[in-house]
């Protein structure tokens, strides 16, 4: 079920009402049923994968917790990780090692061999939605149990809610057990403050998704489909547009997820903090997809030795972490390169940072310059994220430099106004969250803003069907 669908707009209020009406002891059951319903709305078959991950991690973690440190305990952890990554590999990465098959040929084959055809279709064209998100979430739980950071779950059903909690199931934030589970267990009472903040978050989330991301999408699609048709400035606009499209798309999703969870009394972690105002790649990753970057920090970077190793080893660790975080996004070398670019720039910044100070104490001019530099590299890297084939990168960069096509990108004036307002609001929201930031406004000003946002959503939302970009991961 998509957040931006009529089904969700009916589903959420029903769940909220039932949640507060039924006794606390049955709420986990309602959340589980509604989360599975939410997920099964896409493809009910894929629920088996969530159930598989849930059962494996639940049962193994309980055994892990009983064992003293040693080989057996480690073996169980490795079994859990292998099972989770195995599912991920099978459904997401195996395709890298298979010959490329055109969809038409696959359909011809599938028509004759339904079983194998179904499997190949999943591998090539319909990866289970959100598989990387919930897999990483359950893996973090088992690892935390292994290191004794959390106690193992004592109820399979309630653990299943942690794995599948619908607001953040398909595109995060990737929550930690220690943060989410106590909230899922707590007895929440409905409060006006929660509903009010949830409304604000969802309203702004919908605005950002349907008015910004979905209106930028056709322009970006045009440029990436035929960069040669446009002038270099248009190609650059399309590339920069993608940076804002993906930000608005993903941040919009997160805001709606946070709002939906807050209606149930649950606070999900922040996933974005105005990332394009970062002055370095290192800062960017503290502000972009925070739940993923902290996951890699806690479960990969630190176990690899963190910064307590020799500089050469540390550099390698950094590079590995970035490349793998790129690879997390999908089975395409383009994601690897995207991660690699970030890793490389991160390392370069560290080296250059020894000679140039662009942090807090630097002049505002230097800091602005550093921001522009970071935005430039992030935008260049986005090209690799957006393209389907590596060869396309060369075309995009060439056309961005020398393109002299005649076609012109167009955005209607109201959309240009909306995008401008979004950029201004993003700067204003630096280190602030929308719901809290406007809570101090006078009521009239707040309602004027609500009315404007609602009007924009109702009348100016993009209308080419673009599912949330991060669903595919």
């Amino acid at each position: 079920m998509h957040f931006n669908s009529v089904a969700f707009l009916i589903f959420l209020p029903v769940v909220i009402i039932l949640y507060y009406l039924i006794p606390h002891r049955f709420r986990w059951l309602l959340l589980l049923a509604s989360s599975y319903f939410f997920y099964g709305f896409w493809k009910i078959e894929f629920l088996t994968l969530i159930v598989f991950s849930t059962v494996i991690d639940y049962s193994l973690s309980r055994r892990i917790a009983l064992l003293e440190p040693g080989l057996k305990k480690k073996a169980l952890l490795i079994t859990s990780i292998t099972a989770n990554l195995g599912v991920l590999f099978l459904f997401k990465y195996l395709v890298l090692f298979l010959p490329s098959i055109e969809m038409m040929h696959l359909n011809v084959f599938a028509a004759q061999n339904p079983m194998q055809g179904e499997l190949l279709h999943v591998l090539y064209y319909s990866i289970p939605v959100g598989i990387s998100f919930y897999t990483f979430q359950t893996m973090s739980y088992t690892i935390d149990v292994y290191f004794g950071r959390v106690k193992p779950a004592d109820h399979l059903g309630k653990f299943a809610v942690f794995v599948s909690f619908f607001p953040q199931l398909v595109a995060g934030p990737i929550e930690r057990y220690a943060h989410l589970n106590p909230q899922l267990k707590a007895r929440h009472i409905p409060t006006y403050e929660n509903f009010s903040n949830a409304f604000r978050l969802m309203l702004y989330g919908f605005f950002v998704k349907v008015c910004i991301a979905d209106n930028l999408a056709p322009m970006v699609d045009q440029v990436f489909a035929a960069p040669g048709s446009f002038s270099n400035w248009n190609v650059i606009a399309g590339t920069v547009g993608f940076g804002f499209q993906i930000y608005a798309d993903f941040a919009g999703y997160t805001l709606i997820a946070q709002g939906a969870a807050l209606c149930l009394g649950i606070n999900l972690m922040d996933n974005f903090k105005t990332p394009y105002l970062s002055r370095s790649i290192s800062e960017f990753w503290k502000r972009w997809h925070i739940s993923l970057s902290t996951w890699f920090r806690d479960y990969l970077y630190i176990p690899l030795g963190g910064n307590r190793v020799a500089i050469s080893r540390w550099s390698l660790n950094i590079f590995i972490v970035f490349v793998l975080s790129g690879f997390w996004h999908g089975a395409n070398w383009t994601f690897l390169i995207w991660g690699g670019i970030h890793g490389l720039i991160y390392l370069l910044e560290r080296i250059v940072g020894r000679y140039i100070n662009w942090s807090g104490s630097a002049s505002s001019f230097i800091r602005s310059l550093a921001g522009v530099k970071t935005f430039f590299f992030v935008t260049v890297a986005w090209v690799f994220f957006r393209i389907d084939k590596l060869e396309d990168a060369e075309i995009i960069f060439r056309e961005a430099l020398f393109g002299n096509g005649k076609e012109l990108l167009s955005l209607s004036p109201p959309i240009v106004v909306l995008i401008t307002l979004f950029l201004i609001s993003d700067i204003w929201l630096y280190n602030k969250r929308f719901d809290r930031a406007i809570s101090r406004w006078p009521m009239a000003a707040r309602w004027l803003l609500y009315a404007s946002l609602l009007f924009a959503i109702l009348t100016l939302g993009g209308h080419i069907n673009h599912p949330f970009i991060y669903f595919q991961f």
Binding site: N107, A110, T191, Y192, F195, W447, L458, N465
Partner: protein
């Protein structure tokens, strides 16, 4: 109800009233200032309808077949609907045209004709190929279904938000393509009437070969034959989604008191026969008979132009399009115009058919 709930209900109630007011105001502003801009992009036929609904008495719903696609060869480039209108010079005639549209899209437009409209008669182009699997599962369908949302006679703002929320059949190209292949492979070519020699489209395509003297095969011809089989080899029945669209159109027109004409377009049967053979021609004619019989029984005036246009006058000689030269367009127009005499006998003015082009 606890005090907490009461407090929430009270505060929320006031705000819900405010939000409702904002939505209603948005609706007024949208309809006044933004709706037409959206229609231009997403539902242009509705704009045309609005323009002619108070003047036109006959409306022709057409797709690409309405036009001339060979302006160099055609001395007349008038549309089929123009030719029809010449037979009724005194009757205001309107054309609503959009490439690739089919009954499923005409349906909400017809539903949008207001009760107070001057429109009396609706002519709906009926293209046989819009009932085949390739058309039903076409990649264009998602875009068309989105347009259909905007055509529905509902408050404009509601249509707009339903479009934003993708409240239509928005299957991906992959899904549609797959359904198409499954039907070609599994849907049996049979009906109660006949035991057809080929069980499925796929088997038929496989059995259709074009050997060359050197032992190889004429692959170009085979691909073309494949295309023709896929385009025409199907048994229309009640389960076909276009049939339910056409049934709905009949019902809507009955409710609105509109005269309804289904204009069945010509197909290049001569070429289909020479390429694939009489089994395909039999199927095309069988489907024609199904449609004419079904809708004649429902009181629709069905104009059967299936074999009206001679093979040589099709613009695309080697492809399944319903694009005719000036001669063909005039012929089919004459038949439609003749049928309209049922309702407008005194307004009919005979026209001469001009034939500047000849078989090559």
């Amino acid at each position: 109800m606890t005090a907490n709930w009461k407090n929430i209900a009270r505060k929320t109630g006031i705000r819900m009233i405010l939000l409702t007011f904002i939505v209603l105001l948005s609706s007024v502003v949208y309809e006044r200032f933004l709706w037409k801009r959206d229609l231009e992009k997403e539902a242009p036929m509705l704009l045309d309808l609005i323009e002619m609904q108070d003047t036109a008495r006959i409306i022709y719903f057409g797709e690409s077949s309405n036009f001339s696609f060979n302006p160099e060869k055609d001395s007349l480039t008038d549309r089929i609907s123009d030719f029809i209108s010449y037979y009724y010079p005194e009757i205001p005639f309107g054309t609503l045209n959009h490439s690739a549209y089919h009954a499923g899209i005409y349906k909400p437009v017809i539903r949008s004709i207001p009760e107070s409209s001057s429109i009396e008669t609706v002519i709906v182009t009926l293209n046989l190929r819009t009932l085949d699997q390739a058309a039903i599962h076409s990649e264009l369908e998602t875009a068309l279904q989105k347009m259909a949302v905007m055509y529905e006679p509902r408050p404009p703002l509601l249509n707009r938000i339903l479009m934003t929320l993708n409240q239509y059949d928005d299957k991906s190209y992959v899904e549609r393509d797959r359904e198409m292949w499954e039907q070609w492979t599994y849907d049996t070519l049979r009906s109660d009437e006949v035991d057809f020699p080929y069980p499925t489209i796929r088997k038929w395509c496989e059995a259709t070969k074009f050997p060359l003297p050197d032992g190889t095969e004429d692959m170009a011809k085979r691909e073309l034959a494949d295309h023709y089989i896929k385009a025409y080899a199907f048994f229309i029945n009640e389960n076909n989604p276009r049939i339910s669209d056409l049934d709905d159109i009949v019902e809507i027109c009955n409710d609105k008191g509109l005269n309804l004409v289904f204009h069945l377009l010509s197909e290049n049967i001569e070429f289909a026969d020479s390429l694939v053979g009489d089994n395909l021609v039999w199927l095309i004619k069988r489907n024609r008979d199904y449609l004419t019989e079904r809708y004649s029984k429902k009181g629709v005036l069905v104009v059967d132009n299936l074999t009206t246009v001679p093979g040589w006058d099709f613009t695309d000689q080697n492809w399944t399009t319903e694009h005719y030269g000036e001669f063909g367009r005039q012929l089919v127009a004459r038949n439609v115009a003749d049928s309209l005499r049922k309702w407008y006998p005194d307004a009919y003015v005979s026209q001469r058919i001009i034939r500047s082009s000849t078989p090559d």
